[in-house]
Every structure is written in C-alpha cells, then in structure tokens.
Symmetry: C2
Subunit: 220 residues, 2 copies
C-alpha cells in the first residue's frame, strides 16, 4: 500500500509538470493569436482549455482519493494539499491564456494590439512562457532557490505592465478608448498569469521549508 | 470522536458564513470609499483584508487537520474539501474589495469614478453585497434553489458591466484614457467578485446534489 501511495504521489506530480507544459504552450499560442490576429490559433486555445480543466479535475480527484484512503500526516498531507492548490493555479493560468485568445477572436479580422504596443506584448508573452516553464521545473525538482528566483523573474512582468500603462497614458495615444480597454485587460491577464506562476513557486517553498510568504496571490 | 468531528465541521461552516459577512462588509465599505473618495475608509478596507486572509488560513488548517485525523469518506470528505474551496473564493472576493479600495486611495483626493458612471458603480456595489449575502445564506442553509438563483442574480452584474463598456465607448466619453483604464479595472473587479459568489453557490450545489456545473469560475 505504502509503495503504491508514494508512486501515486509521484505520478500526480508528473501530471502537474505536464499541466504546466500545456499551459505554457497555450499561452504561447494565445500570444501568437493575439499578435498575428490569427483566429484559427485563437480557437485552438479556446478549445484546448477544456483539457486543462479536465486535468485539474482529475488531479483533484486523485488527491482526494489519496486523502480518503490513506491517513497522510505532516509532509505527505502537505504534498497532497499543495498539489491541489498548484492544479488550481495552473487551471487559472489556462483560463487567462483563453481570455487572451478571446480578445484576439473578438477583434478579428482587426488586430487587438496596435503596432506600438506589439513589442510589449511579445515580451510579456516570452516572460509568461519563461515563468510557467520555471514553475514546471520547480514542481518537478522542488528546487527552493529556483522557486525564489521566480519572484524576481516576475518583476519583469510588472515592469512591462507599468510600461504599458505609460504608453496608454502618453499624450499621443492615438487609438482611442476601445483599444485602451483591450490593452488594459490584456495587460492584466498577463500580469495575473505571472502572479499565479509566483503562487506555484511559493507553494513549493512552503512545502519544502514550511515558510509561508503570503497567504495568497493577491497583488492588485 | 465522531461527535466532536461533526461539531468541528459545523463550526467551520459557521466560520465560512461569518467570513462571507465580513467580505460583504468590506465590499460595502470599498464601494463607499470609491464613490466618496474617502481615503480613511479605503485604508480600513486595505487593513481589514489581513483578517480575511487569516480566517482563510485558519479554516484551511482546521480542514486539513480534520482530513488528517479522521478518514472521512463520501459526503464528509466532500464537505471538507468544499469548505477549503469556498474559503478560497471568499478570500479572493476580499482581495477584490481591497483592489477597489486601492483604486480609491490611488486617485485621492480626486474621485476615481466620474459623475456619469457613479450610478453604475453604486448599483454594482449593491449587487455585489446582495450576491455575497446570498452566498452566505447558501453556505449556511445548503439551499440548492437559492444557490441556483445566484446564477441568475449575477446576470445583473454582467449587464451592469456591459453597460459600463457602452458608456466608455460612447462618442462623448470626456474623461480620457486614464479614467477609462480605472473604470475598466474596477468593472472587472466587481464582475469577478460576482463570479466568485456564483462559484461558492456552485460548490454548494455540487456538495448537495453531486451535479457539477462547470469545473471552475472562468468567465473572461
């Protein structure tokens, strides 16, 4: 029993890593859909989100079955609980990629993102992919150093986000309010994606060290 | 043992109801802070969020202690897991009230919300309070009918949100891009608050009936 229990926990962890990979690929596709106004790619992302939701559901069920069948204490209990929380973060990151794809779809055949802010979103896309890839590595390795680095890595996203607002607020913003609304929401989706990647890293730090940074991802 | 276990579950449920009340009061204060540009009220909300985070932490700890000490199956297991998820929704709703307060604080002594859109936010505040109050009742009573009504009740929030965009996009929006950004984000905070209230209701429906509406709150 004990052995299959450890195996099950390991397998859940592999599923989380795979889920992080899928979310990274969704985010990458969503960014391309956005920047190229590619509605077929946007639809791929929107359709693909169901699989992420299903994976989260399956991970949750497996965790709760473990909780019910075994009586895990201390580290094992914490591992299982952490797994459900990480699955929740990753599922939400998938939603955010889907939201980005939906903005691309809504504005098609126009581009939601005007030329001047393309570089900011291209960069935000890269940072987002880097963050989720690193989150995946942190889940796989439980490397606390790498987890802590993610906090700093996410500063790049926050800087991009602030830069975006500066562009929107510059006197020569020529695109009007509708585009400003799209950019504001898109900026928030990328930023929240980064916040949740940091959330994953913090959960791993807590799991390994018992140190809790903050109770929850809650940047405005 | 069994009796104290049932008592503990009941007590966790009471804590969730109280948490919903606190979140409702935070949202009410945040809306007033926003509409009156009242920085003292905004600071109250910002400071008050810590208590909500702490309550969530405490509910989680109690749930996981129950999971570890008992071997709950079926309904009991589902009750405990549902409690942690509801606590997470309520905590996030508290964050959203805090975000609203922070916008009020950031624009002080100016009003973040211009005269023309005040009625929309006043109404959004009322709807938000109604939704969280009803969510509290649903937690307390496990009334499936009331839980299902919450879905329809939240449509009012979605209508307000769409109306807000229409105002922003009307040809005579005189307030420029900065205010449009604030309004866009504020609108999203209220809308997400409603989504999470619906999330709470869906979790209760699932707990009572086993019917799952959607895996997670994920409206864009």
């Amino acid at each position: 029993m004990r052995e299959s229990y450890v195996e099950e926990l390991e397998d859940i962890r592999s599923c989380l890593v795979e889920m992080a990979n899928t979310v990274g690929s969704q985010m990458s596709t969503a960014t391309t859909a956005l920047l190229d106004a590619d509605v077929a790619l946007a639809d791929l992302v929107i359709a693909g989100d169901e699989q992420i939701d299903a994976t989260r559901e399956s991970i949750d069920q497996r965790c709760f079955t473990l909780l019910a069948r075994q009586q895990p204490v201390a580290t094992d209990l914490r591992s299982i609980v952490t797994a459900t929380r990480i699955a929740s973060d990753l599922e939400r990151m998938g939603d955010l990629a889907e939201h980005i794809a939906k903005v691309a779809r809504m504005r098609f055949p126009d581009h939601a993102v005007p030329q001047e802010v393309r570089p900011a979103f291209l960069e935000a896309g890269h940072v987002a992919e880097m963050l989720v890839a690193k989150a995946g590595t942190v889940i796989a390795t439980r490397n606390v150093e790498a987890a802590r680095e993610l906090e700093t890595d996410d500063d790049a996203m926050d800087r991009l986000h602030r830069g975006l607002f500066r562009q929107l607020l510059s006197d020569d913003w020529p695109y009007g309010v509708e585009t400003a609304i799209d950019i504001t929401l898109l900026g928030r989706y990328y930023e929240r994606f980064g916040d949740h990647a940091v959330g994953v890293a913090r959960r791993v730090v807590y799991l390994v060290t018992g140190e809790r940074h903050v109770p929850e991802v809650s940047q405005p």
